[in-house]
Amino acid sequence: MSGRGAPGPRCGLLLALLLALGALPRARGVEEQSGGASQGFQVVSFKWHHVKDPYIIALWILVASLAKIGFHLSHKVTSVVPESALLIVLGLVLGGIVWAADHIASFTLTPTVFFFYLLPPIVLDAGYFMPNRLFFGNLGTILLYAVVGTVWNAATTGLSLYGVFLSGLMGDLKVGLLDFLLFGSLIAAVDPVAVLAVFEEVHVNEVLFIIVFGESLLNDAVTVVLYNVFESFVTLGGDKVTGVDCVKGIVSFFVVSLGGTLVGVVFAFLLSLVTRFTKHVRIIEPGFVFVISYLSYLTSEMLSLSAILAITFCGICCQKYVKANISEQSATTVRYTMKMLASGAETIIFMFLGISAVNPRIWKWNTAFVLLTLVFISVYRAIGVVLQTWVLNRYRMVQLEIIDQVVMSYGGLRGAVAFALVVLLDEQKVKERNLFVSTTIIVVFFTVVFQGLTIKPLVQWLKVKRSQHREPKLNEKLHGRAFDHILSAIEDISGQIGHNYLRDKWSNFDRKFLSKILMRRSAQKSRDRILNVFHELNLKDAISYVAEGERRGSLAFIRSPSTDNMVNVDFSTPRPSTVEASVSYLLRENVSAVCLDMQSLEQRRRSIRDTEDMATHHTLQQYLYKPRQEYKHLYSRHELTPNEDEKQDKEIFHRTMRKRLESFKSAKLGINQNKKAAKLYKRERAQKRRNSSIPNGKLPMESPVHNFTIKEKDPEEAPDYGAEMGGGIEFLANVTQDTTATDSPSGIDNPVFSPDEDLSTLSRVPPWLSPGETVVPSQRARVQIPCSPGNFHRLAPFRLSSKSVDSFLQADAPEEQPRTTLPESTHM
């Protein structure tokens, strides 16, 4: 997309669309200007035409994103009106403005842009985050709705419209039966983009959601085939269609759907395999996910197979292995990038749907046709759902109730796919193209805006079972697994081949062969879900531990505004400490060169700054170190040689000692040895003065190492820092995301399991003491043990035994005066 007007292969298709006639009045003026002053060397030249295309694209994206911010300023509006509807309305307004300025519809949603750039991210997102178990558990139902339901909708809508047309109600139109069927086939399909946009806000129960959503994804094959078949029939002319063509059409359905699926699966295999070997190129790891998935889409498009099916199944099949293979950071990157792309694409789609509608040239109104289309698609959808559900309920264990059927019928939203398809029609062949286009727009707007607006109240009114998010429980996971085993055993015993039997077979096959090929060895070991839940719970405990300590005021320093500065250490990957525990990890995981470079850069930059402005940087610095120190327990994955680690520790140590020395002097002797320093450390001194008022007059003094370790839950503590904080994300990813595995065996390098860490930190303290001869060791008497919530017995003793709180660090939070020191740090 970077080609700015490059004449080559139309990489600027999007541009082309956005510009069309390129006619922002301002642009023209600019060109003239720059044309006039073309002699000699120009220091500054204004080259609008040079950047015009990408510029406009970027601007539109910005507008759409800003609009999104705008909508969410008012919670009231977004809780009632779905975002998609708001975007359409905004699009209409913007379209109106553009039209008023130009009288040409310069910006429309073209099929090329939609199918090549906007749709793939959304579908990939859907596939990659598909709840597989739920999806395959309901696959039969989904397939029936997607195939039979869509054919039914297309046929009945097309035929009924034709019937009404014959009765003469629509007046004089230049259309035949095939045109109606063509229209029916493109308007029949439930649209994944619209369904996602609306249903994500409604939160119906997961079975209902997966059925409607799955249908909208899988019906693509049917839509593509029906559309292509009828389009070629229309081109051929109604009288020349033979039975052979019809048979070909049916055959092509199987080819298109199965072929698309196969392409997706093949690329998923490829992708999983590739991610197995990306250990040394972690930085570009996430890129593979996007590029290879996109290639699957393009490949099946090239082979005229169902591209949506291909990319959906690519996402579905690869998710398990990719998530296990790529690093925690990459997984987070993939997650966020995918969500960002999908949500951005969705925003643009709906906005441009609105903008595209403002174009008098495409409007051709026929009241009967439009209204009847609306009536037919709703009625036939409802009838189709009821009929199919009646059949399905004889085979389904979880019955679909009347209420579910109502929601399913009502949730049959049409969207941009239909619009893009109808715009693709050739006016030479389909005489009433404009009528079809206008009707499709009306249908899309009606379903997205009206039904989208009303489905929430409807769901509430019908008391549809909602989905509820709840905390994972180890028991639920464990016993749930036991249930699975029990069920498959019972199926084996009773000699039935059911879901459980198939799932069991599949998971055996997966474990024996697929995982061996597609997963890293380290990931194979630790991918058990039970372990993951256990790990997550431990992390949560750690969070609540810190939170509890915070509540009690003893760990108050933990939350401080300077955590924001951790953005700076985005690239610093977890550092193994010098302790023995991490040696094995060092051996196992080679240091990634890329990361190291970043690291050293960061390091150098920091030390320069350090000398420049010691004072302002001081506090920040201390916080900057923290996260790495902290990660060493949880993810002792790669990088950073012990040397550097030590250097850093020393740095911190020296600084701390210097500071302490000063404050000690000033507090003890009452004079300022160093005026400059006094100024610089004003804040700290306020703190220190308070410290000096401690009865025994001694300053608390603890090892920074301890300080760091105790702060190790910091990023988790503030999960809302979210995206800005590299570290935060990593943690969040682990806490919230259900990755099937992590590279490091989850749970093992959790602090809980490394009590020896304790000893090593202690042993590291002495070197520290050397420069601080004059400093009197701090008092250890007052101990306020941070309270531990009762439910993590294993964490608590460990924490209490080795962590202490440096009151100097409280400089940032002077209002709190925790005096938590630890009785057993007597080595000082």
């Binding site: 019955q399 639920e476 029990i486 069920l487 015993i493 000699g495 069991d504």
Partner: protein, 207 residues
């Protein structure tokens, strides 16, 4: 010996028990009302095909011959669940009785029989079936050791004993309410109260 298709009965006089039933041809389908006729026929033919000794009962070996059960981590426990305590034979009635736990709960069942004995496929009985797989010594408690055994079966060999131990501790701690470091059935039910057991412990074709 009872032969299908016996009349499907409404007689629910035998409450749920772990198989301590008297044998009697006329009692064949006791407690299995609502299992459809064709299903009983089908399951009977499955029963006879499993019955290699052709003596109208299944032994443990008969079950163990099912290849899939050999690779099911809980296979042996589940086989044991079919056998009444102290016995090593199970007849068709016992066979059906065990399978009946996994019949889906139908809508019309939810309301009826409030006072009557609980049907075998009630939520509580489904849970009890699972609970019993853990509770080897039948003291109505899942102790740490019992949990650990099942965990060991289910999570593969890559996990250290220590880690497994802490998972077990954690699991018990999560469910334990009375502080006895074991999970009683009440606690078991409580900790799974949000789980859709009716659905997760049901097989469609058993209705």
């Amino acid at each position: 010996m009872c032969h299908p298709p016996p009349a499907v009965r409404e007689d629910e006089s035998v409450g749920w028990s772990w198989g301590g039933q008297e044998l009697g041809p006329d009692e064949c389908m006791n407690g299995l009302d609502l299992v459809s006729h064709s299903q009983i026929t089908r399951l009977y033919s499955r029963f006879t095909s499993l019955d290699k000794g052709e003596n109208g009962t299944l032994s443990r070996e008969d079950f163990q011959r099912i290849p899939e059960l050999a690779i099911n981590p809980l296979g042996d426990r589940i086989i044991n669940a079919f056998f009444p305590e102290g016995e090593d034979q199970v007849n068709f009635r016992g066979f059906m009785r065990t399978l009946a736990h996994f019949r889906p709960i139908e809508d019309n069942e939810k309301s009826k029989d409030v006072n009557g004995p609980e049907p075998l496929n009630s939520r509580s009985n489904k849970l009890h079936f699972a609970f019993r797989l853990y509770d080897l010594d039948k003291d109505d408690k899942i102790s740490r050791d019992e949990l650990l055994q099942v965990l060991r079966m289910m999570v593969g060999v890559n996990i250290s004993d220590e880690q497994l131990g802490s998972i077990a501790d954690r699991t018990i701690q999560e469910a334990d309410q009375d502080g006895d470091s074991a999970i009683s059935f009440t606690e078991f039910v409580k900790v799974l109260e949000k789980v859709d057991v009716e659905q997760k412990m049901s097989i469609r074709f058993l209705h």
